[in-house]
């Protein structure tokens, strides 16, 4: 009997391992009760002798063992569940989906880990925080405890929601208490949200500590997920920017190559003419009329060469970021425009040049040479990109508005500029390809020079254009 009584320990330990503290205690209690009728009569007969004490200890052993083993089992199991849940939560938060889509899963895992009845997770402290709950379907009221915590009110603890006067519940009280916790999710960067937990029955200190631990991990996990998301977004933006810069560099490289080829062609053509006509004059005896014509050709090609060199000098100045050395003086726009239109009209008979001066056109204080170059470049473009001819209208006059500005516009009826090319039209080496103007010569510098010169004067240049209809360039210069 003495040895058999220890067998009571076996079912007690089995119950403790299987069901934890409650099972272990219950089995230990039953074991003790079953042994009592065998132990107590002996005590009744012979009093508390050493044998009786031994039996009393044996009587209490199943209960004590059941309690200790069951408690250890409960604690280790709770810890394992909590660690598992924390890992799962971290994994959920590390996924690449948007954060709000993962919150429902996180709430469910938190509920399982803490054995809670309901779990609510609110993220963000702004006007429209993201809300998730397990079971799903809860919404956030601005007057609720979770909203109060989000506003910085701190943690909320309630032993029983139904009897807590701070909560205005509509549902009737249940048969068991409903303890609840609302914990702020605080990371190093401040509050990132709130975790609301509701249980049924008792809320033990261990569960409360576990809830705090999970809230801390959640806050850190959410903060990490946000940082990761921001990093990913930043990386994507960086990739886009690098790709755009690479594209731009390739374009520049191509444009430079094209520019070099155009420059060499543009330089070679007048040089060839100069060389040819001068050789003819040197090697042969030509009649005076023919010689005069040859010298005229040499002169115009030399002028063209001069223009190219000027543009190249302008380019080098623009690239070096050196401002134009301006010699400002009052310039009569009427004279300058009329002279240029006359020159262009002689060499471009298919175009009709019109000049529309504003009333009482005031003189403009600017560098005469720079202004002339700007006008020449704009007129040259108007002619170049309207190969079929048409009207080229130049107008000038005070610009509307409080600033004292002069507006000079050059309008053509050419091929126009596609909308997608407009933002780049004032960049260097940019030439908008068009089948009609494929043969037009140029370095792609004219508009860049116009822009640089206008800005050097404290003005700016604008463009309005429609493909197939024509373009209008407006230069605004301070008076």
């Amino acid at each position: 009997m003495v040895s058999l009584r220890h067998l009571y320990l076996l079912p007690t330990l089995w119950a403790a391992f299987a069901s934890g503290t409650s099972g272990g205690c219950l089995a230990g209690l039953v074991a003790g009760f079953l042994q009592a009728p065998l132990v107590l009569p002996g005590i009744e007969r012979s009093g508390l002798d050493p044998g009786a004490l031994d039996r009393l200890v044996t009587l209490a052993t199943p209960l004590a063992s059941g309690w200790v083993v069951g408690r250890l089992r409960d604690q280790s199991r709770a810890r394992a569940v909590r660690l598992g849940a924390l890992l799962e939560i971290q994994r959920e938060l590390a996924r690449e989906e948007p954060l709000y889509r993962r919150l429902e899963d996180v709430a469910e895992r938190t509920r399982t880990a803490l054995g809670a009845l309901r779990v609510g997770l609110v993220l963000g402290t702004g006007d429209s925080p993201a809300v998730a709950s397990a079971p799903v379907g809860a919404g956030l009221d601005n007057r609720s405890a979770a909203a109060w915590t989000l506003r910085g009110g701190g943690a909320v603890t309630s032993r029983d929601l139904a009897s807590d006067p701070r909560f205005q519940l509509e549902e009737p009280p249940g048969p068991a208490p409903r303890p609840a916790l609302v914990l702020p999710l605080e990371s190093g960067a401040g509050a990132v949200g709130a975790l609301a937990l509701e249980w049924r029955g008792d809320l033990t200190a261990a569960t409360r500590a576990a809830a705090h631990e999970i809230a801390m991990h959640l806050a850190l996990g959410i903060e990490n997920a946000r940082l990761t998301l921001r990093q990913r977004r930043f990386a994507v933006e960086l990739e886009d920017k690098v790709a755009a810069a690479t594209r731009r560099l390739l374009e520049l490289d191509r444009a430079k190559s094209e520019f070099l080829s155009v420059v060499s062609h543009e330089l070679r053509t007048p040089l060839t003419a100069l060389q040819g006509f001068s050789e003819l004059l040197l090697s042969r005896t030509v009649p005076p009329e023919q010689a005069r014509r040859f010298i005229g050709h040499i002169h115009s090609e030399a002028e063209r060469l001069g223009r190219i060199v000027t543009e190249l000098l302008d380019l080098s100045r623009i690239e070096a970021g050196r401002p134009e050395a301006l010699r400002r003086e009052p310039v009569d726009m009427g004279d300058m425009v009329e002279r240029n239109l006359e020159i262009f009209a002689q060499s471009n008979p298919r175009h009709r040049f019109r000049w529309r001066p504003g009333e009482n056109l005031p003189p403009i204080v600017a560098d005469r040479d720079a202004l002339d170059r700007m006008l020449t470049n704009l007129l040259s473009n108007a002619v170049k990109y309207a190969p079929r001819g048409g009207d080229v209208t130049v107008s000038a006059g005070p610009a509307p508005g409080p600033d004292r500005m002069m507006e000079i516009s050059v309008e053509d009826q050419g091929v126009g500029i596609p909308a997608e090319a407009l933002p780049r039209i004032f960049d260097k080496y940019v030439r908008v390809p068009d089948p009609e103007t494929i043969g037009a010569r140029g370095l792609g510098l004219g508009l860049a020079v116009v822009k640089a010169l206008a800005e050097a004067h404290g003005g700016w240049v604008e463009v309005e254009s429609r493909a197939g209809v024509g373009s209008r360039f407006r230069v605004l210069m301070p008076l």
Partner: protein
């Protein structure tokens, strides 16, 4: 989810009515009825039986009234049901004096309590609902049977008290008393009202120990308990075990019914225990 949706006001005062006044009123009424019953009993004659009935009805009706006051949180509405149940108890005690089958009137008390409680959904908070887990009923019967049989075995083995089937009429009367008064009022007050009330404030173990201690005190003060040391010790041990067991069943199942069944079965066994 209330934490996300229910209005929350951190400074909102409690709207709970004071429990003290109605509890004192019920206690005073109990004392008056019991004193009147004792006075009638001492007078002897035909009124002695009525006096004893008044004492029983006063005590158990008072317990039920106290439970009702606590369950309703001191709000109005407990008086009429408590008075009707006390009157029914008085009638049942009086009828039980006419014979064993008169005690069957006690069986109407649980039904009457069900009928009275149906209009008060707030009684859910004390476990006046069907159990969430039906197997808790079987567990309650099993726990009562285990404790009851253990009592009989250990009492006969240890103390040498006889265990025998008593006179059928007396046994039926005693069990009927347990059904309609003893177990009913104890579960209603100690597990229903007190345990539920304290569980919400102090947690399970504190509430279970406190309510069981209160129940134990009530039995130790019962003049019908045999006044011997071993019976007193046994009562403390078994009633404490029964109280804790009923508290656990109440918490686990959400209902008073499993604990009530455990008490009924335990007392049914106890009634076979002949002390003198």
């Amino acid at each position: 989810m209330p934490l996300l949706s229910a209005p929350f006001d951190v400074e909102r005062p409690s709207a709970r009515a004071s429990l003290l006044r109605p509890l004192v009123a019920v206690a005073v009424a109990m004392l008056i009825v019991v004193a009147a019953g004792r006075w009638l009993e001492q007078g002897g004659g035909a009124l002695a039986g009525l006096g004893r009935s008044a004492q029983g009805a006063g005590v158990h009706g008072g317990f039920i009234a106290l439970g009702w006051v606590i369950a309703l949180g001191g709000r109005w509405g407990w008086q009429r049901p408590a008075l009707r149940l006390a009157a029914a108890l008085l009638a049942a005690f009086a009828l039980s004096r006419l014979g064993a089958w008169g005690s069957a009137a006690f069986a109407l008390l649980p039904l009457m309590l069900l009928w009275e409680g149906r209009r008060h959904p707030v009684l859910r908070r004390i476990g006046f609902v069907a159990p969430e887990r039906p197997r808790a009923l079987l567990l309650g019967v099993g726990a009562g049977a285990f404790l009851g049989s253990h009592l009989l075995v250990s009492a006969s083995q240890t103390l040498g008290y006889a265990v025998r089937m008593p006179d059928a009429d007396a046994y039926i009367a005693a069990v009927a008393y347990d059904v309609g008064a003893n177990a009913l009022s104890a579960e209603w007050l100690f597990r229903g009202a007190l345990f539920s009330h304290w569980w919400r404030r102090w947690g399970f173990w504190a509430a279970a120990v406190a309510s069981t201690s209160m129940g134990l005190t009530r039995y130790l003060l019962d003049p019908w308990l045999p006044p011997t040391v071993e019976v007193g010790a046994g009562a403390v041990f078994y009633l404490a075990a029964l109280g804790l067991c009923a508290s656990a069943l109440r918490a686990w199942s959400g209902s008073l019914l499993p604990g009530y069944l455990a008490s009924l079965v335990f007392f049914a066994a106890y009634r076979m225990f002949v002390v003198w």
